[in-house]
Symmetry: C2
């Protein structure tokens, strides 16, 4: 525990890089050094080997209708951007600083904290791109994408631009250059380390994240942008920490594997990366408490008040747990029933976070359980488990142990608090006086889920609109594929079938969510709409209609219909 106290700093959700000088447009290197947010106090270094932005997978939408829609949106936005550029040229005098002269110009230097103070029209809207600082206050009203630009206020543009690929055009960079007002400070943290705070060494996070708890840090993607991209950008991916984020020296890192019928072995990161075939999957992770706020609205529950974005979808690269267990000579006829995991994150008594999964899942040929070191082609960030995390596709987030340090093959489940006395479901009749955690199984594979991300709750829509578009995500645990999403515009009286993004996934290995959307004529003569989504997976599991009958004291497993009420004015 003491190691946490060497160097601490308050982590107020401010986006800051405190490592050595970062060159312009070297975003990936920026990401790669993120693990060392408190570099003054740490000698840890980790050289990025991750692929660059250009390598981002260009996922194909196989469903022709969906593809056409997406192409339409992109083409349309491109046209609007060009128009935005034209309007900008009309509205403003030629800037004094030309692109050509930029190299010669000297700019003031700002920290990320300085930038974070400029989030309102009053203070000015500042953003960063790579190592530069821009004051885009005057561009806001010209932005073809409207208010959405404000999501980046006080922080980095990159995660949004990886969502809205239309920005990656030369003329957009040119527009941006014209608003440059400074450069990011290359220096380390200027704040004093707070040696009394175990969370003082937590990394800084993107300010757009919706924070549910600071210590431990728990935050979700803003729902309105969650489904803009099939792959959730790393910096926008929901963060669910149970304890302070450990600082790990990757050179000294060692993974221990032991247990039932095994000789204990230790593997370094280099061992993992060189002794085993690399394997990549795309998988959705969902917190058991996703959509808990709807349960809280029924009756108070214990837990973080998550909205509907404690879920995200990413490419994970690492090695297969089954390969590593084979290497550790796990006997084929083992009578072990579970594989336990421990993280490097520890509570004040030194007890680590822990979890286990059934050995059936760990060894299943098509189980795809990974020891992952990359997320969306980048080195794992500290918040997502640097340098190594478990990814158990199809299984609740809580078993996807981050900062993985120990693997123990066993006849028993993990004895961890989070395995035996948490993350379980109960009848609505069970309260904290009557609950008996031994009567319920630990949550593993999750059930069918869907949520509406647009329009947002209590949104006001104009009755002049001809059409209304509803968007969201749908996912099911256990590798079950989502086959249909039904959407109702009238509180469940009638239903429409939404268009699904079609990413090819093998049977039983549909680990990734599907995004969906539906456009229907705007209902006439209605003053309000109750919009509902419900999904069906390939085993025809369906979502229950209402929250109250699945209410449980921990507020987990809310997969009731997603409901959004909108007003028409």
């Amino acid at each position: 525990m003491m190691s946490f106290l060497k160097c601490t700093r308050s982590a107020l959700g401010i986006w800051q890089i405190q490592s050595s000088w970062i060159k312009k447009r070297v975003w990936l290197e920026t990401t790669a050094v993120l693990p060392h947010a408190c570099s003054v106090c740490s000698s840890v270094r980790w050289k990025s080997t991750a692929a660059n932005q250009e390598k981002e997978a260009n996922y194909q939408f196989c469903n022709a209708r969906w593809r056409q829609m997406v192409l339409g949106v992109i083409t349309g936005t491109g046209a609007i951007l060009a128009y935005g550029l034209y309007r900008k040229q009309e509205a403003e005098p030629k800037p004094e600083t030309s692109v050509d002269s930029e190299a010669q110009q000297s700019y003031p230097v700002y920290t990320r904290q300085d930038v974070a103070k400029h989030k309102t029209m009053e203070s000015g809207i500042w953003v960063t791109y790579k190592s530069d600082v821009y004051d885009i206050t005057n561009f806001v009203e010209l932005h073809p994408g409207g208010d959405k630009i404000l999501l980046a206020a006080g922080g980095a543009l990159e995660p949004f631009w990886s969502m809205y690929a239309v920005h990656k055009q030369e003329h957009v960079y040119q527009i941006l250059e014209e608003y440059k007002v400074g450069e990011l400070s290359p220096e380390a943290a200027q704040e004093a380390c707070d040696v009394t705070d175990p969370y003082g060494k937590d990394p800084l996070r993107h300010p757009v994240l919706k924070v549910n708890s600071l210590k431990p840090f728990n935050a979700e993607t803003p729902a309105e942008i969650l489904t803009e991209n099939y792959l959730t950008p790393n910096d926008l991916f929901f963060i669910r920490n149970h304890l302070p984020v450990p600082e790990v020296d990757p050179k000294k890192f060692s993974l221990e594997i032991k247990g039932e019928g095994l000789k204990s072995i230790q593997l370094s990161l280099r061992d993992l990366q060189t002794k085993f075939p690399k394997h990549t999957i795309t998988a959705t992770l969902q917190c058991a408490g996703n959509r808990r706020s709807d349960m809280n609205a029924v009756r108070e529950v214990k837990g973080l008040n998550w909205g509907s974005a404690a879920i995200g979808n990413a490419k994970w690269t690492g090695v297969k747990l089954s390969d590593v267990l084979e290497y550790a000579r796990l006997p084929a006829n083992t009578d072990a029933k579970h594989v336990q995991f421990e993280g490097l994150d520890k509570d004040i008594s030194g007890t680590p976070y822990g979890a286990s999964i059934p050995i059936r899942k760990a060894l299943a040929k098509d189980g795809d359980v990974l020891l992952a070191f990359e997320m969306n082609d980048e080195i794992l960030s500290r918040d997502h488990g640097f340098p190594l995390r478990l990814v158990v596709p199809g299984v609740v987030g809580a078993r996807n142990v981050k900062w993985l340090s120990k693997i123990i093959v066993s006849k028993e489940e993990s004895k961890s608090h989070w395995q035996v006395n948490d993350y379980k479901g109960f009848s609505p009749s069970v309260d904290w006086n009557t609950v008996d955690f031994t009567t319920a199984p630990a949550i593993q594979e999750l059930s069918i889920q869907s949520a509406i991300t647009s329009p947002s709750k209590d949104e006001r829509l104009s009755s002049d609109l001809d059409e209304i578009t509803v968007k969201g995500y749908a996912w099911s645990g256990g590798g079950r594929e989502v086959i249909r999403v039904d959407v109702s515009m009238d509180g469940g009286q009638t239903w429409h079938v939404a268009d699904l993004s079609e990413m090819k996934q093998n049977e039983g290995q549909a680990w990734a969510w599907k995004l969906w959307e539906l456009t229907v004529p705007m209902p006439k003569d209605e003053k309000s709409l109750e919009i509902i989504s419900k999904a069906v997976d390939n085993q025809y599991n369906v979502q229950p209609d209402t929250v109250a009958p699945i209410w449980n004291l921990r507020g987990v497993l809310n997969n009731s219909w997603s409901r959004v009420n909108v007003t028409i004015k």
Copy 2:
């Protein structure tokens, strides 16, 4: 098709045996010859090797509370039976026929059809036990179990006595003997064969079955007795036929195995029974249309109007499909994706019933897919697939092909009508004008299900009762174990957790249902109750609240909450 026409007879749900002389108390031999219901026209003979009644597995209720309840019920019923005997002796003069003199007495001989005519108090209530006929009209009001005895009226007592084991006592046999009025005819069918009816050779069935369709024959267990026994007695097990029941000579029977990467082979019944290890599982089979009547109540659907008893649970014995495919040298690295099956039941054009399952399920070590020749330790009856059927535990009934004759390993799904244009689920918005069967996957593993079997719908209960007991079943597909059943007595406002029968099942292989019950104080000052059950499986899949949102044009997959309205008088 012509072979069906050689010998036919109307099959009106009358229970009849037309084989050679059946000795007294030789119930199992009786069952064994059932495949030859039309023996005048058939030379088929099949010697029973099945275990006798005494071998019936004595399943242990592991949950102590449940066990105590069951023991209580049995003990209580035993006492009541003794009282019933006493009352009978008081009420009636000594019968002239004593048990001792029975051997010398000569009785009239009746056919099963004769017996079936005596089902009312007016005509007299006749039943059979083994090869004897009893007129129990005067015993009905003395029967400790009340009206339930009338379920056997016109038919055999055996399936009920295997449910209510308390009857298997010497003094019960003695009571019964006193009502003997005749013996069953040893002779063959006296009715003329109807050569024009393809269903003319269908077997006779127990008259207690609730018939949904005669040709093809489809009938379910009366709901009120469905959950009296963990194993559903064979003669009361729901029957779902798509076509006439084929007549099969077991000596000539041959199973063909062929397809992708295989050399075609043929296996006789003897080959199957001698070349492969025998394997027994207990598994629940459920028709996709179970509980369709509740969907019909919302809006008319196409399909048999099943109640909640198109489901049953049995012990199945046979050989593993995976062993047989290995014997047929299926390559380990096969690129086949499906295993197709054909039955010997054929439509008028000669097209057989067919289905397929994913090869993942067929080859899974713990998949337990069986080629079964025994059901509850008896040779399969003709209605349940004699001599060989597929049992795919955890998967919808429709893929459990009966009268199995062909296995085809393939890259493709079965092209059978029932695979591609039936047994699929759709949105409530899809009707027969808009349906596109290619857009939905064939139903395989079923979702979580439960139903209330007692009290029955619209039952009237006395407000004088101190307590009310609710009973039912719960099951989930895919080997997922039912972990909880919630019961509401007030239309879903509050919930109680029911007691579950606990049969030990391996993780991922929970193929069998759980019976459940709940006893609560009778709600006071209520004139009616809406009783609800909803179950949860070990992946926390839950049942949806209502029927309408999962309504589909074929009326399949109704797993909404089970609701029973009762009146309190």
